[in-house]
Symmetry: D3
Subunit: 245 residues, 6 copies
Amino acid sequence: MTNRRDRSLHAMRPILFSNHFTKHADGSVLACCGDTKVLCNTSISEGVPKFLRDQNKGWLTAEYSMLPRATHTRTDREASRGKQTGRTIEIQRLIGRSLRCAVDLHQLGEYTITIDCDVIQADGGTRTTAINGAMVSLTHALKHLQYAKKIKTDPIKYLITACSIGVIKDEVYLDLDYDEDSCADVDCNIVLTEHGDLVEIQGTAEGEPFQTQTLDKIVQLAKSSQTQILQAMRTCLDLPHPESK
Amino acid sequence: MTNRRDRSLHAMRPILFSNHFTKHADGSVLACCGDTKVLCNTSISEGVPKFLRDQNKGWLTAEYSMLPRATHTRTDREASRGKQTGRTIEIQRLIGRSLRCAVDLHQLGEYTITIDCDVIQADGGTRTTAINGAMVSLTHALKHLQYAKKIKTDPIKYLITACSIGVIKDEVYLDLDYDEDSCADVDCNIVLTEHGDLVEIQGTAEGEPFQTQTLDKIVQLAKSSQTQILQAMRTCLDLPHPESK
Amino acid sequence: MTNRRDRSLHAMRPILFSNHFTKHADGSVLACCGDTKVLCNTSISEGVPKFLRDQNKGWLTAEYSMLPRATHTRTDREASRGKQTGRTIEIQRLIGRSLRCAVDLHQLGEYTITIDCDVIQADGGTRTTAINGAMVSLTHALKHLQYAKKIKTDPIKYLITACSIGVIKDEVYLDLDYDEDSCADVDCNIVLTEHGDLVEIQGTAEGEPFQTQTLDKIVQLAKSSQTQILQAMRTCLDLPHPESK
Amino acid sequence: MTNRRDRSLHAMRPILFSNHFTKHADGSVLACCGDTKVLCNTSISEGVPKFLRDQNKGWLTAEYSMLPRATHTRTDREASRGKQTGRTIEIQRLIGRSLRCAVDLHQLGEYTITIDCDVIQADGGTRTTAINGAMVSLTHALKHLQYAKKIKTDPIKYLITACSIGVIKDEVYLDLDYDEDSCADVDCNIVLTEHGDLVEIQGTAEGEPFQTQTLDKIVQLAKSSQTQILQAMRTCLDLPHPESK
Amino acid sequence: MTNRRDRSLHAMRPILFSNHFTKHADGSVLACCGDTKVLCNTSISEGVPKFLRDQNKGWLTAEYSMLPRATHTRTDREASRGKQTGRTIEIQRLIGRSLRCAVDLHQLGEYTITIDCDVIQADGGTRTTAINGAMVSLTHALKHLQYAKKIKTDPIKYLITACSIGVIKDEVYLDLDYDEDSCADVDCNIVLTEHGDLVEIQGTAEGEPFQTQTLDKIVQLAKSSQTQILQAMRTCLDLPHPESK
Amino acid sequence: MTNRRDRSLHAMRPILFSNHFTKHADGSVLACCGDTKVLCNTSISEGVPKFLRDQNKGWLTAEYSMLPRATHTRTDREASRGKQTGRTIEIQRLIGRSLRCAVDLHQLGEYTITIDCDVIQADGGTRTTAINGAMVSLTHALKHLQYAKKIKTDPIKYLITACSIGVIKDEVYLDLDYDEDSCADVDCNIVLTEHGDLVEIQGTAEGEPFQTQTLDKIVQLAKSSQTQILQAMRTCLDLPHPESK
């Protein structure tokens, strides 16, 4: 199960961001990481929530959901159960927090951004794929806001990237798929700015605790894996790639 | 707005069913009707709900949802509001009822089928597109159940098709898109068996009531429009087309 | 069970509307159709919901509920279950939609009308009895609003009537009671204006699909059955009967 | 407002219990006390809730609700609000507790009794009218259970009666209507056995606290007012009246 | 079980109010009555609820809760169940009602007082201990409001005290602990002003009904037991004791 | 505000665990860290949730809540709002996950442990104080289970400790109080085994992202701060201190 056929332990699965996946959203990106597919739709509306009134700044929030049959066996629909699971809430808080870090909310002005991350198909790493897709979707949406002359400057401070790293039998694996994730001893999600600084780190020992040296390895692997994600992002965003500067 | 550029009043938009849209579901079909796109995933599980115990028959139910940004402006996520809207409940009851009519539940045996219809992009006719996509998705899923030797015979009695028909300024329109739907005086959804018999008819006067002669015209139009839907279904299901018999 | 003792297949059960059933409502009518008894209370309040602000028109909405022991065996109280069933929601949306069709909301002005339809005793046809009772209750309430000089003209465009029609073993039955309803192959509810035009039609094949010729028969039967309902309505409303003109 | 036109301070309004108000319930009584009208339906089902399993005794519970327009101005429907108000919960607990006191649950055996008290029209004293109506409805239902040979002996220990008593400007009033209730300084509900013993007493100072002598007067008035209620109960239950013994 | 080791039937358990139990609340009192411990925190905020707008008076409300393991066996947390139990709602309504009686809401002015009564440890009498603790906590909070010059005069009209009294095998017991409460035939909670007038009385026959003479005894016992509670209150509030006048 | 009067940047506030804080729980510990006070009650019950049936292992879960007035201004009670906030859910999932890591669930056998962490007073670090208190409370409860001969060996694998570390203006602070927490750029919670291995790490950039070197410093500080927490734990648990070995 932990035998990766066609990629090394420190390799990511193919990553692809498809723009304009649906037509109504201000930014609509299908983010694929291997077989994990997350639709990231950005909506921008005027005004801000009450707690931000008269502060002359904007707000950004995210919602996350899995389609009932995104998974091996069907999971109950949260809308018919009448509440979101703890897992869903935890993930959408993480997505929102991370993306807020990438945006200068003062520069945004009094707009509220909602990023909906809906998992169409799940195969491990849905939350990190959601963050990456949300980053691309958000950038598209803000570009349109700028084109529409509603804001003057781009409020994005830097791109952020997210990856999941696990430890299985003392080996550090990058970008675990569902089967690998199910048998990992450590499960870590790391969000970095494009400059390699930390936005968020969440590491959990599923079974055995892990040493601080392992944490170092994990963080280093996260940093070195960024290039591939940033490349896919820039391709979709039509941004110059660093090497082409 | 009611000026249809490139199709006649009695023509449908292009219809396409894409099979295997996601990998986990027993049947997974993306149903497209013009710009309306609905993902129809079928899940089959052993056992039946309590009220059917020991009756030696199966059950089929459907759930319907729109992604928050399937629409022009974002609609609140039902999972975070904590309940489904009346519209959602009404639609998913219609889908389930219609599809149950197409299946011999005794022949199915003690299995429960759940069909999830998630609207990825909405442009009018989401409920009829959901029914059509569910029909195709269900057929695929039951074929697999038969291949897997879990059931002996195909419990599907006939294909069913659904279309929406509206009346705008005394003219009868087939397959209304969102703009047309918004200004229709009568809104009618009709589900037929492939033999042209009625499974369900729901006609509503949005503004002015309509005459029974108009109802006749609507029903005739529904019957004559079936061919295109059945053709798309049979293509996706790899079934022989009647004319090729 | 389908042997109607004392009425022909195309006859309705006795219909009676009792005015002033309770003293607080603006209109309070007990609508009886055979053993089915629905209390229809109309409340009129000033102002309109948000989505209608500054449009200079009114709103009408309906709520439907069954007392827990209106039925053979007790059904759980929705208030203690914490949510309304799909059936309840579907029915109250139908009632509201139908009655809105009977009222000129612009002429009504900025008032909100709520019609509460509470089933005291159920024996088939509760939704059609509710619509009929609501029509009478609403007319009384608007008459009082006019007497009170709050509106100048009567905003009611025409009376509407509703009836249920079923198909049992290829025979078309008018106004099914509970026992008949339980074994019907087709279940159809039709709402008409007093002039015989269609406001709403909902036909469902419970088991076998039905032919369009059957739909014709159903619609014709609905039209011919109107007289009895209108007569009972006019009696309760103290309106001249057409033949007495 | 506290000027009682046609009755003395210590007189009750006319009380009437109508049996067989609806046809499905095991006991169905409309209890009227002046303009207050409460429908009390008793349902008996086999089995008991989990916490009583294998104790060889039955259970009795009550539910209370007001139709939305039972009151002067419409109150929101609890089913659509998604939860019962504190007032509703308080009242239905009182009704259940009081009635359980009147029944020998061991003698009842493993049956669960649910008494639904639905206020059709409110004019003060709905909770006491509900208790009185529930007592009559329950007695009818248990009589039928006995006729059906499901229980051997009557599990009712004694009739219970309830009345509301208030203090307005130092005067003690029996059976307050809505207007009186709105200006009462003390609001007291007392449930007694037919022998004059206390089952429940709830006295609340709405404004000014009251002296223990006043409590004495209230309790004495409650006792002396029982005759009228018991007479109405016995009439409806076809029981011999004490004086006719 | 009903054998009180170290106190007479008419004696209360030791009562103690500890002020400043937590640091953020405007008044924070831990009320102990034997092993029952309730934390009573008072919060005062500016403004009043909608229904009191422009009446130039304040409002007071209470909330009650038990920590899940305040009891012998763990009870489910209401926050995770998603609703409060009927018992909780009944109790917090009683606390709020009683305390409102002790305050001149006009003199308070447009402030809203919320008293949170959280049971840390339960051993019978939690609701009466909550009322007593709330009285002390409220007094402290209002004193601070006066010190802060936000109100000019003390809006407290009188202290109120609450005690629970039960009947076990025809004997009247003061202040029942959990074991006694479990086998009581009558359960009575009485709230009095410091002058011995009644604010609230709630008496319930758990099994056998009780005579009005018993009610007299209960009320007398309640009055005679007040001294101890008032003494503990005054000690905590640093008020002169009557005998020291 | 970030001027720590009486402790260095790398010093914790005084930590104290008080055992037997309430009498009913299997383990009841009040954990204090400066002015933050969390009551940690452990309940052990026989049996396991469904998803663990027949696996011959136990389960451990945690719930977290803040009393409404544990904070500067009152926060709404989750039980009356009808749902837990995202923050609460996130925290209680962290507590449960961390503590499960400290227990050998196979050795525990088919028992379910619930640890209730109720914040009595909040001043920063409530989640880490809850984890520490839960660790002590759990150890006490399992000791009693062993004394009661229900389990043979101690299923605790090692003590775990939690601390919060923040970055304010490039300085790393240990154990932030509320004021410090409000202005921190980075907020990190770290759970370690008593051997210094990582159980959980959650680091969030509130404003500016942080460098991986800062993460190193944070982790080192977490490790060096453990001694004080372990000492307080061992004192309360009556365990030998390492230096006294």
